[in-house]
């Protein structure tokens, strides 16, 4: 029942996005622009500053992710469809998980473009330890999106939601982003520092568990008017 509902919400969001391509286009455009601005500012005569790549990658994920989160819930605001979801006899945390999976999938697609782009402009060897790098990206994205999905849903009825979302989201997700940057940097080092990367990955995973547990626990209460 729980995962059936979550997948149903994910499938519905996917169907809407396939038709409109609104959020994906906007997220990709913003993420790519972000990387291009950094590339033009920092890369001099074909030489990128050392250790810039992980920071730029995670900044692009964080900023474009904020944009995607806002738009995902803006869609539920038209026609008050979130109310309709909450009124259904489905477990409300399942609705949260469905929306979270949608945001993570969207950011996953954005990362498919971002990682090669950052690798190209900043000469970063992202594919030396592909499995660890993939885990780091997935874990960091899930941690960021877990809190973001909760806050975006919570702020849906607030007039100043676009301002409040980053104000609330960034301070709380900063540990995940820092751990993501440090873990990614360890993997991009020559030679790759697997021990350090694994330690940062463990920290990100621990944050994921805490964030998701708290979000599942509080979603129903926070969504009740």
């Amino acid at each position: 029942m729980f995962f059936r509902i979550a997948l149903l919400v994910l499938r519905k969001d996917f169907a809407i996005e396939v038709k409109s391509r609104e959020i994906l286009t906007m997220t990709l455009l913003f993420a790519v622009s972000c990387v291009l601005v950094f590339a033009f500012a920092l890369v001099k005569e074909g030489e990128a500053p050392p250790d810039a790549a992980p920071a730029i990658l995670w900044i692009a994920i964080m900023f474009s992710g904020t944009l995607a989160l806002g738009r995902t819930f803006e869609r539920e605001r038209y026609g008050e469809t979130l109310r309709a979801l909450l009124l259904a006899p489905a477990p409300r945390p399942a609705l949260y998980v469905g929306k979270l999976l949608g945001v993570v999938s969207l950011l996953g697609v954005a990362e498919l473009v971002l990682v090669p782009l950052v690798a190209f402009f900043f000469g970063a060897p992202f594919f030396v330890k592909p499995l660890l790098m993939l885990l780091m990206l997935v874990a960091g994205t899930v941690g960021f999106a877990a809190v973001g999905t909760l806050f975006a849903a919570m702020l849906m009825r607030v007039r100043t939601r676009d301002v409040l979302l980053p104000i609330l989201l960034y301070p709380i997700t900063v540990p995940v982003i820092i751990a993501g940057v440090r873990g990614t940097a360890a993997l991009l080092a020559t030679p790759a520092d697997e021990t350090t990367a694994t330690m940062w990955l463990a920290i990100v995973l621990a944050f994921d568990v805490v964030f998701i547990t708290l979000s599942l626990w509080t979603f129903e209460v926070l969504m009740t008017e």
Binding site: I5, L8, K12, A15, I16, K19, S20, R75, Y78, G79, E80, T81, R83, A84, L85, L86, L87, A88, P89, A90, P91, T224, E225
Partner: protein
């Protein structure tokens, strides 16, 4: 699951910050009733529907569905409630069929068994695979009404159900509401359209500034009664 025969609000108040939307309101709606919530804009009708639908939690007081509160019923109660709100709860980017299929699955229904019949009742069979964004307000309203009734709810809550409807559709909705009440549903309709409410509702609750001014059986001359109790 045993259905409830009545819904009772006991001394329900609801505040939004310092604004009082409902003030110590007590009211009962029974199976077979079409209860009209009548009052001017901002009277608290939509908040009251929100409270009845369990989406809005009262600041004080309680609502009982049969002999149990919403908290005691839990999620199964929501399977017995259908809400047609002023905002239509439809995804504009999806087709009429996709909308109905999604909500049918959300309520654990077999879409094949309910969606086509709902499209037929809404008069949208020919437009079933068109995006809702291209529909007129009346078409959306008819679709939203069927969406709200897909799961054959016991408690039917309608907020201004006649908005955007032409005369024929108004007649169809009116007949539908009467049929629902005849089948034993508890129907609550919030409206400020006294002409349409007159002759349709079987009880009236007159509300102003969140207060219940009168709760009585409907009788002829609803407009005059409304003017006398609520004012213009």
């Amino acid at each position: 699951m045993k259905d409830f025969e009545s819904v009772q609000l006991n001394d329900v108040s609801r505040h939004f910050g310092r604004r009082r939307a409902l003030a110590r309101l007590s009211l009962t709606a029974r199976a077979g009733d079409i209860l009209g919530l009548l009052g001017p804009n901002g009277a608290g009708k939509s908040t009251l529907l929100g409270v009845l639908s369990t989406i809005v939690v009262p600041t004080t007081g309680e609502v009982t569905y049969g002999d149990r509160t919403a908290r005691r019923w839990g999620a199964p109660l929501r399977r017995r409630i259908g809400l047609l709100a002023h905002e239509l709860h439809l995804y504009a980017e999806l087709t009429a069929r996709q909308n109905l299929t999604f909500f049918a699955e959300l309520y654990g229904l077999n879409p094949a068994a309910v969606v086509n019949a709902a499209l037929e009742r809404a008069g949208l069979v020919d437009r079933a695979d068109d995006d809702v964004s291209g529909f007129s307000r009346g078409m959306r309203q008819r679709l939203a009404l069927e969406r709200a009734l897909l799961h054959a709810p016991r408690l039917v809550l309608f907020d201004e159900p006649f908005t955007g409807l032409d005369d024929r559709s108004v007649a169809a909705v009116t007949d539908r509401l009467r049929a629902l009440a005849a089948d034993g549903a508890i129907v609550v309709v919030a409206t400020h359209d006294l002409d349409l409410a007159d002759g349709l509702v079987t009880r009236v609750a007159l509300i102003r500034d969140g207060r219940l001014l009168a709760d009585e059986p409907a009788a002829a001359g609803l407009r005059a009664r409304y003017r006398a109790v609520v004012g213009n």
